[in-house]
């Protein structure tokens, strides 16, 4: 996608695993591979969306990128900074370069702090008046009134709380803002407001987003590139237009089918693809393609060898044996 020179964030072959409870003390240690070799990059001022269903590893990926959980392999580079190689002190200093906007506006704000103090929390130590100026500016930027700075979180609505969360994330002028399902806990009307705010802030301040969502409908309005994750792996990685106009992977098709449309006659030109069953147990992934068991077009080969993520002639990346080099999906 983005060439390496202009990339702000480059993630290569990121792997995160969690130890499983051993059956006995002497049984070999088993792991759940939540993120299993994920690579992507984001250019400054752009948005990469990671989409996928619950358990696909998208949030784990985001947390590992900011080193809020530890990856056991791979690399994360924020410009020249090797994030996974930082020691404790260097990591704490680098923390302000990544900020988070969380999913749940009710648990993401400390109930004992006033709104102004929440927003100022990620700021480095500085004089009180300089700090106040920054907080004033941020409150205005996210559309909150100055007198609301003295209120406590419980005195705000969900949408307002999310605005506070956005202001907090912008406070230390981070290189990257990771939005972890920032609107999925909000009413639809409020969702649109918050998404518009995020977009306006991006164009006004040149913010870079890593946007995590399970909802392609939300992502459609937000991102430049999309990575679709399934069970810890990226199955399709493309820029927004290609992905929405020509979704290649059967799983991407299924996700797109799940986006509700206002006009029932328009369904992207294809019939709806509804998935049966649940994703396989990530502690015990299948040998071949991880999606094969639910895939409507899976062949014998799909069950036996895992497809690698390959780049097609039109630069779209997909991990499916059945997609041709000319970007023709097996579903037609």
């Amino acid at each position: 996608m983005t060439s390496r020179e202009e990339a702000l964030l480059t993630v290569r072959d990121l792997r995160v695993r969690f130890p499983l409870k051993a059956a006995s003390l002497f049984a070999p240690k088993r792991y759940l591979y939540a993120v299993d070799g994920v690579s992507f990059s984001i250019a400054r001022g752009q948005t990469l969306a990671i989409v996928g269903e619950s358990g696909s590893g998208k949030t784990t990926t985001a947390l590992a990128v900011a080193r809020l959980i530890d990856a056991y392999a791979g690399s994360v580079n924020l410009q020249e900074l090797d994030v996974l190689g930082l020691d404790r002190e260097a990591l704490r200093a680098a923390r302000r370069r990544f900020q988070f906007i969380f999913q749940d506006p009710y648990s993401s704000l400390n109930p004992r702090l006033r709104a102004a103090d929440i927003v100022a929390e990620p700021l480095p130590p500085m004089a009180a008046d300089a700090r106040q100026r920054i907080v004033d500016d941020l409150f205005e930027a996210v559309g909150l009134r100055p007198e609301q700075q003295r209120l406590f979180p419980h005195q705000f609505s969900g949408g307002q709380r999310q605005r506070i969360g956005i202001a907090r994330a912008m406070a230390p002028q981070p290189d990257l803002i990771i939005c972890d399902e920032p609107v999925s806990a909000l009413d639809v009307a409020v969702q649109a407001q918050v998404l518009n705010l995020l977009r306006d802030l991006q164009s006004g301040r040149g913010l870079t987003y890593l946007f995590i969502s399970h909802d392609l409908g939300v992502v459609q309005h937000m991102c430049d590139q999309i990575a679709v994750m399934y069970l810890g792996k990226i199955v399709e990685y493309a820029d927004r237009l290609s992905l929405f106009q020509n979704p290649l992977h059967p799983y991407t098709r299924a996700l797109l089918s799940a986006v509700p449309r206002v006009d029932p006659t328009v369904r992207g030109g294809d019939r709806r693809l509804l998935l049966q069953g649940d994703p396989p147990d990530p502690a015990n992934p299948p040998r071949g393609c991880r999606f094969a068991a639910r895939c409507p077009v899976a062949e014998t080969r799909c069950h036996q060898e895992p497809p690698a993520l390959r780049t097609l002639r039109n630069k779209q990346q997909v991990a499916c044996h059945l997609v041709t080099e000319d970007a023709v999906s097996p579903l037609g």
Partner: protein
Amino acid sequence: MAEVKLDAPAVEAASGPLREVARMFLKNHAAVGALAVLLLIVAAAVIGPPLYSDDPYEMVWAPFSPPGADGFLLGTDYLGRDILAGLFYGARVSLAIGLSAALMSVGIGVTIGASAGFYRGWVEEVLMRFTEFFQVLPTLLFSMVIVALFGASLQVVTIAIGVVSWTAVARITRAEFLRIRELEYVMASRASGAGNLKLITAVILPNALPPIIVQAALMVGSAILFEAGLSFLGLSDPNVMSWGQIIGSNRPYILDASFTVTIPGMAIFVTVLAISLVGDGLNDALNPKLRQR
């Protein structure tokens, strides 16, 4: 059902959590009454001795003078000592031991519970097994052993009570930490560069405090009871007048002069009841689920 306040101003005053707690507490009449009684007892403990008598051990009159007779409001005990003077002095001791023992067990309990709940893993395993070890010890027996080993001074009695009663605080603190550490605002603080110590003391602990405060309040009451029990058994400092000691020393005469035992008993009962009611009121005021009603 929650009332919808239509005439509420668009921006309500920035009432802090503390003021809201005070407002909720004041709504609970039993707790407010109990708090008044408690303040009265504290006042009696502070100003009683200098105003009334400076020596509760002084034999001032004939033994077993009933309450009200001969100018002694609560009568005299088996050595002719003024019981009211004993109560005033005993209040000091009981409250002091209750408070410092509770403070001590909160100190131990919060430290252990917070470490276990925050760090998880083997730290939690070790600390919680340690806590369970203390939980299964018979508390009265264990504190009697401590007092027997180290002598019956006020400090030793306080430590003995503190050492046997911190386990509940540790468990409560750990449970709160386990819950709160997973909340997103903790992760937000971590993403802002907060270290572990700051997360524990400045972010999680303030939010874990409400149930700990309630437990601490209730523990003051149980520590007073505990001290009374120890001194009733003759295991407290004999040179310091406490309520339990008055009961213990007058025990042989319980049938002949029951007032010598029941009056200090009432003092313990009223104090512990008041503390429990205040603790209950605090619990309701600090519990956000009840707060919605």
